[in-house]
Symmetry: C2
DNA sequence: ATCCATGCAAAGCCTTTGCACCCGA
DNA sequence: TCGGGTGCAAAGGCTTTGCATGGAT
Protein backbone atom coordinates (compact mmCIF):
# COMPACT_ATOMS: atom_id res chain seq x y z
CA UNK A 1 0.00 0.00 0.00
CA UNK A 2 3.02 2.25 -0.26
CA UNK A 3 2.32 5.05 -2.71
CA UNK A 4 5.18 6.83 -4.42
CA UNK A 5 2.84 9.50 -5.72
CA UNK A 6 3.64 12.99 -4.60
CA UNK A 7 0.09 14.23 -4.81
CA UNK A 8 -3.46 13.28 -5.63
CA UNK A 9 -5.74 14.97 -8.13
CA UNK A 10 -9.43 15.51 -7.63
CA UNK A 11 -10.90 14.13 -10.80
CA UNK A 12 -14.56 14.12 -11.65
CA UNK A 13 -14.66 10.33 -11.17
CA UNK A 14 -13.12 10.49 -7.71
CA UNK A 15 -15.47 13.27 -6.74
CA UNK A 16 -18.60 11.42 -7.86
CA UNK A 17 -17.55 8.18 -6.19
CA UNK A 18 -17.06 10.01 -2.92
CA UNK A 19 -20.36 11.85 -3.27
CA UNK A 20 -22.33 8.72 -3.97
CA UNK A 21 -20.71 6.85 -1.12
CA UNK A 22 -21.48 9.68 1.26
CA UNK A 23 -25.13 9.64 0.26
CA UNK A 24 -25.85 6.17 1.55
CA UNK A 25 -25.46 4.27 4.78
CA UNK A 26 -25.65 0.85 3.19
CA UNK A 27 -21.94 0.09 3.04
CA UNK A 28 -22.03 -0.90 -0.61
CA UNK A 29 -19.55 -3.19 -2.34
CA UNK A 30 -17.30 -1.93 -5.14
CA UNK A 31 -19.71 -3.34 -7.66
CA UNK A 32 -22.70 -1.62 -6.10
CA UNK A 33 -20.80 1.66 -6.06
CA UNK A 34 -19.96 1.09 -9.71
CA UNK A 35 -23.68 0.78 -10.46
CA UNK A 36 -24.52 3.93 -8.48
CA UNK A 37 -21.83 6.01 -10.12
CA UNK A 38 -22.59 4.75 -13.59
CA UNK A 39 -25.98 6.39 -13.46
CA UNK A 40 -24.20 9.71 -13.49
CA UNK A 41 -21.11 8.68 -15.47
CA UNK A 42 -22.03 5.85 -17.80
CA UNK A 43 -18.54 5.49 -19.18
CA UNK A 44 -16.66 5.05 -15.91
CA UNK A 45 -14.86 1.73 -15.59
CA UNK A 46 -14.92 -0.71 -12.73
CA UNK A 47 -11.14 -0.52 -12.50
CA UNK A 48 -11.37 3.19 -11.86
CA UNK A 49 -13.86 2.57 -9.09
CA UNK A 50 -11.53 0.10 -7.42
CA UNK A 51 -8.52 2.37 -7.78
CA UNK A 52 -10.35 5.33 -6.31
CA UNK A 53 -11.84 3.42 -3.43
CA UNK A 54 -8.34 2.32 -2.56
CA UNK A 55 -6.97 5.85 -2.74
CA UNK A 56 -9.86 7.41 -0.87
CA UNK A 57 -9.46 4.95 1.96
CA UNK A 58 -5.72 5.61 2.01
CA UNK A 59 -6.54 9.30 2.34
CA UNK A 60 -8.87 8.55 5.22
CA UNK A 61 -11.91 9.87 3.39
CA UNK A 62 -13.72 6.56 3.48
CA UNK A 63 -13.27 3.25 5.21
CA UNK A 64 -12.76 -0.21 3.81
CA UNK A 65 -14.57 -3.01 5.62
CA UNK A 66 -12.76 -6.26 5.09
CA UNK A 67 -14.46 -8.82 7.27
CA UNK A 68 -16.78 -11.30 5.64
CA UNK A 69 -15.19 -13.10 2.77
CA UNK A 70 -13.67 -11.77 -0.38
CA UNK A 71 -16.25 -9.09 -0.97
CA UNK A 72 -15.14 -5.83 0.56
CA UNK A 73 -17.61 -3.15 1.51
CA UNK A 74 -17.06 0.57 1.83
CA UNK A 75 -18.21 3.11 4.36
CA UNK A 76 -18.53 6.77 3.47
CA UNK A 77 -18.34 7.60 7.14
CA UNK A 78 -14.70 7.38 8.15
CA UNK A 79 -15.25 8.29 11.79
CA UNK A 80 -14.81 5.37 14.13
CA UNK A 81 -17.95 3.38 14.77
CA UNK A 82 -19.00 -0.24 14.95
CA UNK A 83 -20.94 -2.53 12.67
CA UNK A 84 -23.31 -5.40 12.60
CA UNK A 85 -22.97 -7.85 9.74
CA UNK A 86 -25.67 -10.21 8.58
CA UNK A 87 -24.11 -13.65 8.16
CA UNK A 88 -26.88 -14.56 5.73
CA UNK A 89 -26.99 -11.74 3.19
CA UNK A 90 -23.67 -10.10 4.01
CA UNK A 91 -25.11 -6.62 4.44
CA UNK A 92 -23.51 -4.33 6.97
CA UNK A 93 -25.35 -1.95 9.28
CA UNK A 94 -24.17 0.82 11.54
CA UNK A 95 -24.51 0.40 15.22
CA UNK A 96 -24.72 3.14 17.79
CA UNK A 97 -22.55 1.99 20.61
CA UNK A 98 -20.07 3.97 22.67
CA UNK A 99 -16.55 3.49 21.37
CA UNK A 100 -14.67 1.22 23.74
CA UNK A 101 -12.09 3.35 25.44
CA UNK A 102 -8.78 2.26 26.80
CA UNK A 103 -8.95 -1.14 25.20
CA UNK A 104 -5.53 -0.73 23.67
CA UNK A 105 -4.05 -0.06 27.08
CA UNK A 106 -5.13 -3.44 28.34
CA UNK A 107 -2.87 -5.11 25.82
CA UNK A 108 0.12 -5.20 28.11
CA UNK A 109 1.16 -8.57 26.78
CA UNK A 110 1.25 -7.29 23.25
CA UNK A 111 4.84 -6.24 23.60
CA UNK A 112 6.53 -5.11 20.46
CA UNK A 113 3.23 -4.57 18.64
CA UNK A 114 2.35 -1.09 17.43
CA UNK A 115 -1.39 -0.94 17.95
CA UNK A 116 -3.15 1.12 15.32
CA UNK A 117 -6.76 0.61 16.28
CA UNK A 118 -9.46 -1.96 16.71
CA UNK A 119 -12.65 -3.06 15.10
CA UNK A 120 -15.65 -4.58 16.73
CA UNK A 121 -18.24 -6.32 14.66
CA UNK A 122 -21.35 -8.18 15.63
CA UNK A 123 -22.49 -11.18 13.65
CA UNK A 124 -26.23 -11.43 13.33
CA UNK A 125 -29.22 -12.23 11.23
CA UNK A 126 -30.67 -9.00 9.94
CA UNK A 127 -34.42 -8.43 10.36
CA UNK A 128 -35.11 -9.50 6.77
CA UNK A 129 -33.11 -12.69 6.98
CA UNK A 130 -34.37 -13.54 10.46
CA UNK A 131 -37.86 -13.28 9.04
CA UNK A 132 -37.29 -15.53 6.04
CA UNK A 133 -35.42 -18.07 8.15
CA UNK A 134 -38.49 -18.41 10.32
CA UNK A 135 -40.71 -18.91 7.31
CA UNK A 136 -38.69 -21.84 6.00
CA UNK B 1 -23.85 -23.04 3.94
CA UNK B 2 -26.83 -25.33 4.38
CA UNK B 3 -25.68 -28.95 4.38
CA UNK B 4 -28.07 -31.70 3.44
CA UNK B 5 -25.64 -34.37 4.58
CA UNK B 6 -26.94 -36.64 7.27
CA UNK B 7 -23.54 -37.37 8.76
CA UNK B 8 -19.86 -36.71 8.47
CA UNK B 9 -17.11 -39.27 8.17
CA UNK B 10 -13.74 -38.97 9.80
CA UNK B 11 -11.41 -39.59 6.93
CA UNK B 12 -7.65 -39.69 7.21
CA UNK B 13 -7.44 -36.36 5.37
CA UNK B 14 -9.86 -34.60 7.70
CA UNK B 15 -8.07 -36.05 10.69
CA UNK B 16 -4.64 -34.87 9.57
CA UNK B 17 -5.87 -31.40 8.67
CA UNK B 18 -7.37 -31.01 12.12
CA UNK B 19 -4.24 -32.36 13.80
CA UNK B 20 -1.94 -30.02 11.94
CA UNK B 21 -4.12 -27.03 12.60
CA UNK B 22 -4.25 -27.84 16.29
CA UNK B 23 -0.49 -28.04 16.45
CA UNK B 24 0.11 -24.41 15.61
CA UNK B 25 -1.02 -21.03 16.85
CA UNK B 26 -0.12 -19.18 13.67
CA UNK B 27 -3.61 -19.07 12.13
CA UNK B 28 -2.45 -20.36 8.77
CA UNK B 29 -4.19 -19.79 5.45
CA UNK B 30 -5.66 -22.68 3.47
CA UNK B 31 -2.56 -22.76 1.34
CA UNK B 32 -0.25 -22.92 4.32
CA UNK B 33 -2.32 -25.73 5.80
CA UNK B 34 -2.09 -27.48 2.45
CA UNK B 35 1.70 -27.27 2.66
CA UNK B 36 1.74 -28.57 6.23
CA UNK B 37 -0.55 -31.49 5.51
CA UNK B 38 1.23 -32.42 2.31
CA UNK B 39 4.33 -33.30 4.25
CA UNK B 40 2.38 -36.18 5.72
CA UNK B 41 0.02 -36.83 2.79
CA UNK B 42 1.76 -35.82 -0.41
CA UNK B 43 -1.19 -36.72 -2.61
CA UNK B 44 -3.86 -34.66 -0.85
CA UNK B 45 -5.45 -31.98 -3.02
CA UNK B 46 -5.98 -28.33 -2.26
CA UNK B 47 -9.68 -28.75 -2.96
CA UNK B 48 -9.92 -31.34 -0.22
CA UNK B 49 -8.22 -28.98 2.19
CA UNK B 50 -10.73 -26.25 1.42
CA UNK B 51 -13.69 -28.60 1.69
CA UNK B 52 -12.54 -29.93 5.01
CA UNK B 53 -11.77 -26.55 6.49
CA UNK B 54 -15.29 -25.54 5.57
CA UNK B 55 -16.81 -28.63 7.15
CA UNK B 56 -14.65 -28.49 10.27
CA UNK B 57 -15.63 -24.90 10.87
CA UNK B 58 -19.28 -25.78 10.32
CA UNK B 59 -18.85 -28.47 12.95
CA UNK B 60 -17.35 -25.95 15.33
CA UNK B 61 -14.03 -27.77 15.51
CA UNK B 62 -12.08 -24.85 14.11
CA UNK B 63 -12.73 -21.23 13.37
CA UNK B 64 -12.58 -19.31 10.14
CA UNK B 65 -11.12 -15.81 10.36
CA UNK B 66 -12.44 -13.67 7.58
CA UNK B 67 -11.21 -10.19 8.19
CA UNK B 68 -8.38 -8.89 6.10
CA UNK B 69 -8.99 -9.29 2.43
CA UNK B 70 -9.68 -12.35 0.40
CA UNK B 71 -7.26 -14.59 2.18
CA UNK B 72 -8.99 -16.43 4.99
CA UNK B 73 -7.08 -17.79 7.93
CA UNK B 74 -7.98 -20.64 10.21
CA UNK B 75 -7.76 -21.10 13.94
CA UNK B 76 -7.47 -24.54 15.50
CA UNK B 77 -8.72 -23.07 18.75
CA UNK B 78 -12.47 -22.70 18.43
CA UNK B 79 -13.03 -21.24 21.88
CA UNK B 80 -13.85 -17.57 21.82
CA UNK B 81 -10.88 -15.26 21.98
CA UNK B 82 -9.63 -12.14 20.27
CA UNK B 83 -6.93 -11.42 17.73
CA UNK B 84 -4.33 -8.92 16.62
CA UNK B 85 -3.77 -8.66 12.88
CA UNK B 86 -0.66 -7.16 11.37
CA UNK B 87 -1.74 -4.77 8.64
CA UNK B 88 1.65 -5.19 7.00
CA UNK B 89 2.20 -8.93 6.71
CA UNK B 90 -1.34 -10.11 7.41
CA UNK B 91 -0.36 -12.53 10.15
CA UNK B 92 -2.79 -13.04 13.02
CA UNK B 93 -1.85 -13.44 16.66
CA UNK B 94 -3.84 -14.48 19.69
CA UNK B 95 -4.50 -11.98 22.38
CA UNK B 96 -5.21 -12.66 25.99
CA UNK B 97 -7.99 -10.29 26.89
CA UNK B 98 -11.08 -10.95 28.95
CA UNK B 99 -14.07 -11.65 26.70
CA UNK B 100 -16.31 -8.60 26.71
CA UNK B 101 -19.45 -9.57 28.56
CA UNK B 102 -22.89 -8.19 28.06
CA UNK B 103 -21.97 -6.33 24.91
CA UNK B 104 -24.87 -7.87 23.05
CA UNK B 105 -27.29 -6.55 25.66
CA UNK B 106 -26.28 -2.97 24.96
CA UNK B 107 -27.61 -3.28 21.44
CA UNK B 108 -31.08 -2.14 22.32
CA UNK B 109 -31.44 -0.28 19.08
CA UNK B 110 -30.69 -3.39 17.07
CA UNK B 111 -34.32 -4.32 16.99
CA UNK B 112 -35.19 -7.22 14.78
CA UNK B 113 -31.59 -8.43 14.61
CA UNK B 114 -30.74 -11.86 15.94
CA UNK B 115 -27.31 -11.36 17.44
CA UNK B 116 -25.08 -14.40 17.08
CA UNK B 117 -21.83 -13.12 18.48
CA UNK B 118 -19.13 -10.56 18.06
CA UNK B 119 -15.53 -10.32 17.04
CA UNK B 120 -12.96 -7.86 18.22
CA UNK B 121 -9.77 -7.43 16.31
CA UNK B 122 -6.87 -5.09 16.82
CA UNK B 123 -5.00 -3.71 13.86
CA UNK B 124 -1.30 -3.35 14.47
CA UNK B 125 2.21 -3.67 13.21
CA UNK B 126 3.66 -6.91 14.49
CA UNK B 127 7.09 -6.77 16.14
CA UNK B 128 8.83 -7.92 12.96
CA UNK B 129 7.12 -5.39 10.70
CA UNK B 130 7.45 -2.57 13.22
CA UNK B 131 11.17 -3.28 13.21
CA UNK B 132 11.62 -3.26 9.45
CA UNK B 133 9.46 -0.15 9.09
CA UNK B 134 11.86 1.67 11.38
CA UNK B 135 14.85 0.55 9.37
CA UNK B 136 13.53 1.97 6.12
C1' DA C 1 4.46 20.25 -19.69
C1' DT C 2 4.25 16.93 -16.23
C1' DC C 3 2.72 12.97 -14.40
C1' DC C 4 -1.40 11.22 -12.15
C1' DA C 5 -5.81 9.12 -13.72
C1' DT C 6 -8.79 6.79 -16.96
C1' DG C 7 -10.89 3.04 -19.88
C1' DC C 8 -10.37 -1.28 -21.47
C1' DA C 9 -9.07 -5.83 -21.21
C1' DA C 10 -6.21 -9.28 -19.53
C1' DA C 11 -4.26 -11.41 -15.71
C1' DG C 12 -4.16 -12.71 -10.72
C1' DC C 13 -5.40 -14.68 -6.49
C1' DC C 14 -8.02 -17.35 -3.68
C1' DT C 15 -11.84 -20.34 -3.54
C1' DT C 16 -15.47 -23.31 -5.26
C1' DT C 17 -17.29 -26.97 -8.10
C1' DG C 18 -18.16 -30.97 -11.55
C1' DC C 19 -17.00 -35.49 -12.22
C1' DA C 20 -15.52 -40.15 -11.92
C1' DC C 21 -13.55 -43.07 -8.70
C1' DC C 22 -12.73 -44.35 -3.72
C1' DC C 23 -13.60 -45.65 0.91
C1' DG C 24 -15.53 -45.25 5.80
C1' DA C 25 -19.35 -46.88 8.54
C1' DT D 1 -23.62 -51.35 0.04
C1' DC D 2 -24.36 -46.62 0.18
C1' DG D 3 -23.63 -42.06 0.44
C1' DG D 4 -20.18 -38.96 1.75
C1' DG D 5 -15.15 -37.95 0.40
C1' DT D 6 -11.19 -37.56 -2.70
C1' DG D 7 -8.11 -36.00 -6.53
C1' DC D 8 -7.87 -33.49 -10.47
C1' DA D 9 -8.80 -29.82 -13.26
C1' DA D 10 -11.74 -26.38 -14.79
C1' DA D 11 -14.52 -22.57 -13.62
C1' DG D 12 -15.86 -18.69 -10.57
C1' DG D 13 -15.91 -14.23 -8.13
C1' DC D 14 -13.71 -10.29 -6.87
C1' DT D 15 -9.73 -7.45 -7.41
C1' DT D 16 -5.51 -5.80 -9.49
C1' DT D 17 -2.65 -4.36 -13.28
C1' DG D 18 -0.45 -3.16 -18.03
C1' DC D 19 -0.92 -0.09 -21.53
C1' DA D 20 -1.97 3.74 -24.41
C1' DT D 21 -4.62 7.86 -24.05
C1' DG D 22 -6.71 11.69 -21.44
C1' DG D 23 -6.78 15.50 -18.19
C1' DA D 24 -5.75 18.18 -13.68
C1' DT D 25 -2.47 21.43 -11.94
Amino acid sequence: LQTTKTQFRMTRQREVILEELRKVCTHPSADEIYAMVRQRMPRISLGTVYRNLEILSELGEIRKLESGGCLKRFDGNATSHYHIRCVECGRVFDIHLQPLEGLEKQLDQAQGFVILGHSLEFQALCPDCAQSTKLN
